[in-house]
């Protein structure tokens, strides 16, 4: 089959573009980034009946070709052919929400004025009918001068007709690229009036029956029941992240343990075997083990987005966010950051105000990401007694809750301080469309989860893979001479670097082995656990949980309680994740902000750990 042509799906936010993209391409899609920006590029293949296999891209939703945020800029640039790494589309599929015709037609008219081959997908006609609207697609097609195909992407209705229309409109392979002559540019008011006129002509009948969304909003957006529902949802999500993940986490641990045993059985005792077993499998396995938790959190995030609830959450949170100088839109990236700060930082691209966006990026690493969990779990299990306090609440769980809370409170305080200093500027705005509620389609959620899983595993297979090998080499070489009373770890390159750091960390209660663990943990926080394990010279056990327990018991004997608490406080703030720093560099397009972020978070980590240690020591703990 030939690969010919590029089609761009373009339209307003909430027009159902992504659902249409999923319906047209199925699982045949590739998610990446546009070069130089962290705006996600979703591309796929569309097989036409004449044997052509055209590329199709799903562009970020926007209201006009005059962008307000980075993702809207990408849409404008792709449509005009200015975007690096993307050819100008051969045709546009303009997606409009049938129930919001006059508003969406304004942007459609702006796109049609470019004079490029186009087809209009009149999407979500079922919801328009639910809202009492009957539309005449033929009349609309006559007025717009291009084919208009009624579709219901989530029910796969109208897709064959849309494919036929695309086939007829997309230039044939080998045909020279046409020079498109844009129509005369029209003013904003003229476009709006024209859109309203065309929409009125296309509406056959209109009955005001918008009960469904309104009825839910009455409860969900109510000043009293709204926040209660939001808090209850967040509670359920975080409970599920921990309780649902237990079985798959155990399965992954067992798989990696079996892999280690298998390699040990096959390879002779050698440098290569040690590197594979202790470095690669243990290192990559310690990261992949978080995949279930990340997927559970993303499952809820995707569901909340697909139903239309996420924007309601932003609406409810705007008041609180405004008090710390942010917008309700910041709630969505910050919620994502509980899974991982990287997608959280990427999600800030929808925030239009640059200062709002920068502040959200700078505080996103303070949300307790899942990489902190192994560190918290190890130290809490080893140092916090497993007993109930205050009416049956578990002390260990309470400490974990306090660590999450410390991250949130720290982020809010940091936002206030940043907005008064380095990101000072006018108070940002909050303008947002609240889409209609929809039943999410399981297939779309699964595709979304698969994409997130793939991105995470690819990262584990590259960055973490390389880091763990380097860590293993630094911890293993050079080897101490015969008769030396220094341990292998202390004599190693990593041990020597730790000795340099130790004087800075000693005042906050950290010892040599913590200094040693913090170096590799710069790559990813969870590496601190495996680094501590190696530093303690524990024989790798087949059962990772047993290893963790053994490590915990060892730490109990070597650390004081104030040191352990200080270590926990350190990880609430410490920016120990190279991927987060790298994505911040890419998102802010300079080294200035990632370096600033790393600096202020390390200072906070040192102060928090110090304050915890000094308070605990003076309290006689």
């Amino acid at each position: 089959m030939d690969h010919s042509g590029l089609i761009a799906l373009v339209g307003n936010p909430n027009a159902g573009k992504s659902a249409l993209f999923n319906a047209l391409t199925g699982a045949r899609q590739k998610v990446g980034n546009y070069p130089g920006v962290t705006v996600e590029r979703k591309a796929g293949k569309l097989a036409l009946s004449d044997g052509r296999n055209v590329d199709i891209v799903d562009l970020p939703g926007t209201y006009s070709l005059d962008p307000k945020s980075p993702d809207e800029t990408v849409t404008r640039n792709v449509v005009f052919g200015y975007q690096d790494g993307e050819q100008q589309p051969d045709m546009l599929v303009i997606v409009v929400d049938a129930a919001n015709l006059d508003n969406h037609l304004r942007f459609a008219l702006e796109l049609l004025a470019l004079g490029r081959p186009s087809v209009v997908a009149l999407n979500m006609v079922d919801l328009a009918t639910r809202d009492g609207l009957e539309l005449d697609a033929d009349q609309l097609s006559k007025d717009l001068g291009v084919p208009v195909i009624p579709t219901v992407a989530v029910r796969r209705r109208g897709l064959d007709h849309l494919r036929e229309a695309i086939e007829a409109a997309v230039p044939a392979h080998g045909q020279p690229r046409a020079v498109f002559v844009p129509h005369a540019e029209r003013g904003e008011t003229e476009l709006r009036r024209e859109a309203q006129r065309i929409a009125r002509r296309a509406i056959v009948s209109e009955t005001p029956t918008r009960r469904f969304t309104g009825a839910i909003d009455k409860v969900v957006l109510h000043p009293v029941s709204g926040p209660i529902i939001l808090l209850a949802l967040l509670f359920v999500i975080f409970q599920a992240v921990f309780s649902w993940s237990e079985a798959p986490v155990a399965l992954i641990e067992e798989t990696f343990a079996a892999l280690q045993t298998g390699v040990e059985a096959v390879l002779p005792d050698s440098f290569l075997r040690d590197m594979i077993v202790q470095g690669v499998i243990a290192g990559v396995g310690s990261v992949v083990v978080f995949l279930p938790q990340i997927l559970i959190l993303f499952f809820f995030i995707l569901m909340l987005e697909a139903t239309g609830y996420m924007t309601r959450a932003a609406f409810l949170m705007d008041g609180l966010m405004a008090r710390v100088g942010l917008s309700g839109r910041a709630f969505i990236p910050l919620l994502s950051s509980f899974a991982c700060a990287i997608p959280g930082i990427m999600a800030t691209r929808t925030i239009s105000d640059p200062k709002d966006r920068l502040t959200t990026i700078l505080i996103a690493p303070l949300m307790t990401c899942s990489a902190r969990l192994p560190v918290y779990a190890l130290i809490i299990a080893a140092f916090i007694p497993d007993r109930a306090v205050w009416g049956g609440i578990g002390l260990q769980g309470l400490v974990l809750f306090c660590l999450y809370l410390a991250g949130i409170v720290g982020a809010l305080i940091a936002a206030v301080v940043l907005r008064l200093t380095v990101t000072r500027g006018s108070q940002g705005s909050f303008l947002m469309e609240l889409p209609k509620y929809q039943m999410p389609l399981l297939r779309d959620v699964i595709i979304g989860l698969w994409q997130r899983a793939w991105i995470f595993l690819r990262r584990a297979g590259t960055i973490i893979f390389v880091t763990t090998i380097i860590l293993w080499l630094l911890l293993s070489f050079p080897k101490p001479p015969q008769g030396s009373n220094q341990s292998l770890v202390e004599y190693s390159a990593a041990g020597r670097i730790a000795s340099v750091l130790e004087p800075v960390l000693r005042p906050i209660g950290f010892n040599h082995e913590i200094a040693l663990a913090l170096i590799p943990a710069m790559a990813a926080r969870e590496v601190a656990v495996s680094a501590l394990a190696t530093a303690n010279a524990i024989e790798e056990s087949d059962d990772e949980e047993q290893t963790a327990q053994t490590l915990g018991e060892r730490l109990q004997g070597r650390w004081t309680l104030p040191t352990a608490l200080a270590f926990l406080a350190w990880f609430v703030f410490a920016p120990q994740c190279l991927s987060t720093i790298a994505v911040t560099r890419r998102e802010t397009n300079s080294w200035r902000w990632p370096l600033f972020m790393t600096g202020y978070l390390f200072v906070l980590a040192w102060l928090a750990a110090g304050a915890t240690y000094w308070t605990a020591v003076s309290a006689g703990l």
Partner: protein, 97 residues
């Protein structure tokens, strides 16, 4: 009257928007969302528990407003809502009298 003073679920029309009270880009986005002179508008919800409690005590609230504009629901802050003057059926009748 200002949109901030409009009672919930009372149909109205946008009479005038003080575009100078907001940034150019916010003004443009409001127009892209359909908020312009002559458009039908209805206040649906005001967010904020604290604001709701204060409003019970007769103190003006500042939380986000959700409005139906045409067939779309748009959320905006009180600062933007305060720049929008609306006219209800009752205003028209009073004007005619």
């Amino acid at each position: 009257m200002l949109l901030t003073a409009l009672a919930p679920n009372q149909p109205a029309y946008i009479d005038r928007v003080d575009w100078a009270a907001m940034s150019d880009s916010d003004g443009k986005r409001l127009r892209e969302l359909g908020l312009c002179e002559g458009a039908s508008i209805e206040l649906l919800h005001r967010a904020g528990l604290l604001g709701w409690l204060l409003s019970r005590l007769g103190i003006r609230r500042r939380g986000a407003h959700a409005c139906r504009v045409g067939r779309m629901i748009v959320a905006m802050r009180a600062t933007h809502a305060a720049a929008i003057e609306v006219r209800t059926g009752a205003d028209d009748e009073a004007g005619a009298a």
